[in-house]
Amino acid sequence: MNDMMLLVEPLIPALRRYARSLLGERAAADDLLQDCLERAITRWHQRRGDGDVKTWLFTILHNLAISQLRQSARRGRHVELDEVSETVVARPPTQEAGLQHRDLLNALGTLPEEQRSVLLLVSVEDLSYAETARVLDIPIGTVMSRLARAREKLARAMAPDAGARDQPTNRHQPTNRDQPTKPERPTLWRVK
């Protein structure tokens, strides 16, 4: 258990931030992280011996978060998953965070969950593209296309003349072959 304390404990703040960013509420996020840590304790010895504890923990946490988001969507009114995530994420952050932060987090909440998780894992949690692909169990090309769409959408939402420039001029097109018009949600919902 000694190596577990050393390897897992330093990651708890980042895991907590990710859970909070996905679920919006601290209490729900902490419950989720507690479940994640309990699973990690139980399965510590079943971990594949690649030593990549960070990816492993984020995978457990992400899968729990997604199944929870799906459950609350099912339990609640008949609402779309995206709509639910939007309302739970779009709440005021801590006091010291300025209006700009709030606007940004609100805009983040309007992203589809699958784009939001890619953006958070890459931009905030500093996972590599390959690690992000493993956590989400998707190809790297999909990580890149979701990242591009997330950034573009967030930039548009935050632009002062939002809406006025929906048609970006002469845009450099991503080279991914993987550009589904409809997000492939079932992949994301898979719970390990």
């Binding site: 931030r17 010291e96 965070a97 890459v122 905030v124 990242l147």
Partner: protein, 261 residues
Amino acid sequence: MTTGRPITEEDLHAYVDRRLDAARQAEVEDYLARHPAEAERIAGYGAQREALRAALASHAEEPIPPELSLARLIEARRHPTARPWRSSWQSMAAAIALLVVGGVGGWLLPHSPDRTAAGIASLAAEAADSYTVYAADHIRPVELKAADRGELVHWVSERLQHPVAVPDLAASGYRFMGGRLVPTPHGPAALFLYDDDHGTRLALLARPMAIDRNAPLAAHSEGPIRGFAWSKAGLGYSLVAGSGGPDLAPLATEARRQTES
């Protein structure tokens, strides 16, 4: 452009995330210098990335609540009947269930579950409790003062049925103030207090351990109180301080070194 490989959207994002090697980064910079509109878009993504990190930074900086303490969760797993650190709604459900049972069968008050576990996590909680009560006391924080060190050591060692030594933290700027015996759900414990020139106080709690008899140094926190706990040869220690206190890691390491020598 040196290689002539076209700059892709993926390259631009990897540039934002600083994931390019130096050669490719130079090529992207060159490309952006020649495409101002793209440069503006990519600069916007960079700013967005920084803003996102700043907006979410506070979520990672909040103190970790005790129910997310790994040491506690490990211990809870060793005692599967007591699952004390479940979330609030689950605790509430349990409390309601208890009320229902109580209404039928009379009151049955269990021990507060986190007190029935005897390991490091409960030691940490006991140290925090003792700190709250005694370190805040400005009239009589200790029962036997530093001058009566010999008598104190004899007394607590006798009651704990375990030889207890007082670590010397003077080299780190913390004077030994004295100590006392305190009660815990697992019998008596020794409490030693230290302070520095600014009146910052530390407390060291020591008691025999029925489980976790040899546990590595691990951080814990109980609300505003932070600490480090460890055990060796059946005696557990927890060094704690308030939120504005010093970095406890070196102090705990030093105290542990002394208790083990």
